[in-house]
């Protein structure tokens, strides 16, 4: 099985190609606002470095959020068009689930966090096996940290955002091979049906709900 993996949900581009669950090559780059300019050129280089054509891929995995709204849309649009064109299905994956995969196995609980501004984060709590103890949500960071205090084992925050916290924080450096290994066998969905997972309404929708 040849799998293409893409995550543009943050200011980083994480992309990789694996063959039979072994990574052929990967890209890990901090791109910030240059995400749109660099993502496809980097993907093209990735395929070239693997001596592969986009048409060789069997499965497409994409991180569909939560995270940067624009970032998620870039990745999801590429994946949707790619999968639609190749008549393949997409395995959408939560950014937080991907972040919960750590090489270091000494932690009982992993708490991925993505800054959602104004004291809020997109966050969740997972155990070592990737089972959600606290499902992904848009939550006050302080509330998530309180939830961490109640955990019966050793826990760590995983994030590429900087927070003022006393908790242990590990930077997120995607273990793309392990993410593919763990999730590529999930049943894919029709690309038309794949949508970003924003976990949050737009401000206009929130205001409309408030005023309803």
């Amino acid at each position: 099985m040849k799998t293409f993996y893409l995550d543009t949900s943050s200011s980083y581009l994480f992309a990789g190609i694996s063959v039979d669950k072994k990574i052929k090559n990967e890209v890990k780059l901090k791109l910030d606002k240059e995400l749109s300019s660099f993502t496809l050129p980097q993907i093209k280089e990735l395929f070239t470095s693997c001596n592969m054509d986009p048409k060789d891929i069997d499965k497409i995995m994409v991180v569909n959020g939560p995270g940067s709204f624009t970032g998620i849309r870039i990745g999801v649009t590429i994946a949707k068009i790619y999968a639609y064109s190749m008549k393949k299905k997409i395995v959408p994956l939560s950014s937080l689930k991907a972040m919960a995969i750590l090489k270091d196995t000494s932690y009982d609980y992993i708490v991925p966090m993505i800054d959602a501004r104004r004291g809020y984060v997109f966050g969740a709590i997972y155990d070592k096996e990737g089972t959600a103890i606290l499902k992904e949500q848009y939550i006050k960071r302080s509330a998530l940290e309180v939830a961490m205090d109640d955990l019966p084992g050793k826990s760590v925050i995983v994030s590429n955002d900087s927070f003022d916290t006393e908790k242990e924080v590990l930077p997120y450096n995607a273990d793309i091979e392990e993410i593919i290994c763990r999730y590529e066998d999930l049943e894919g969905i029709n690309p038309h049906a794949v949508e970003p997972n924003y976990l949050k309404l737009t401000e206009a929708e929130e205001n409309k709900q408030k005023n309803a």
């Binding site: 496809l40 050129p41 093209k44 639609y84 038309h192 409309k208």
Partner: protein
Amino acid sequence: MKDTLILGIESSCDETSCSLVQNGCVELATVISSQIDIHKDYGGVVPEIASRQHVKNITMVLDECLTKANKTMDDVDAIAVTYGPGLIGSLLIGLEAAKTLAFIYHKPLIPVHHIKGHIYANNLVKRLTFPLIALVVSGGHTELIYMKEDYSFQKLGGTLDDAVGECYDKVARVLDIPYPGGPLLDQMAHQGKPTYNLPIPLNDDSFQFSFSGLKSAVINLVHNELQRGNEINKEDLACSFQKVVVEVITKKTMKAIEDYDVKNLIVAGGVAANKGLRESLTKTCEEKGIDLTIPPIKYCTDNATMIASAGYYAYLHGKVADLSLNAKSSVPIEED
């Protein structure tokens, strides 16, 4: 000569559209997914909602377009996409889609300026004849452009503040006309009389426009009348407003035609659907022997047909981008 098939993709505001156009003038299929009913509830386009809708729709719109034309991506020679100006989040969806297709199928990627697309909408009606003056009037633009030949654009002037369509929508809001108010305001104008006295905006010899003063004049007039306890005759106010707008646009367009000694005028953009403007330009052009082209309503609003048409001529002029092409919220027509 072999036919050239261009896939056009447009997502600069609240319409997701794909189109297949042959040789810049033969429309094989066009699909437009409009979000107008969604944004209606908010009184205008909400950029984040628009972006979300584009992602949702993009593959379905592309699929429907290819199916309708009975073509596959292998039949396409090049992919033309609107890269600006427009809402950045919206533009990015069409752009990433186009770049992905260009990458997968190893096809040329053609960047198209949205306004150039609007101008080339006329090419779908009849082949453009040069030199010409293009009047671009929409929710985001009010521009006079001189074209000496295909794909050559010289901006003569534009709005200094609000675009004409934007002004229509804002005035409509003051008159409690639901979004999108412009077309309704145009309808009402035809039922009224020009009884209100409004200033002709930037009534000078330049090719610049200004509509914010006129908009303020309408707002002040409405407030003053309401404070005095007088009822507003909305049809009459719509008619008075439309009269000065049409007058100033017609006057400056005709001046451009005379100054640049051209015999062809084309009108482009959403406000080209405005009945009042169409009537005024048709009458004046007939009097002066000017060949006027106004596209049918379906080509006036945002669509990918015009992008594919403009894309064909851009392609002939060697305008090809690589995969690093980025979206731009604003880009002068001459800079492209």
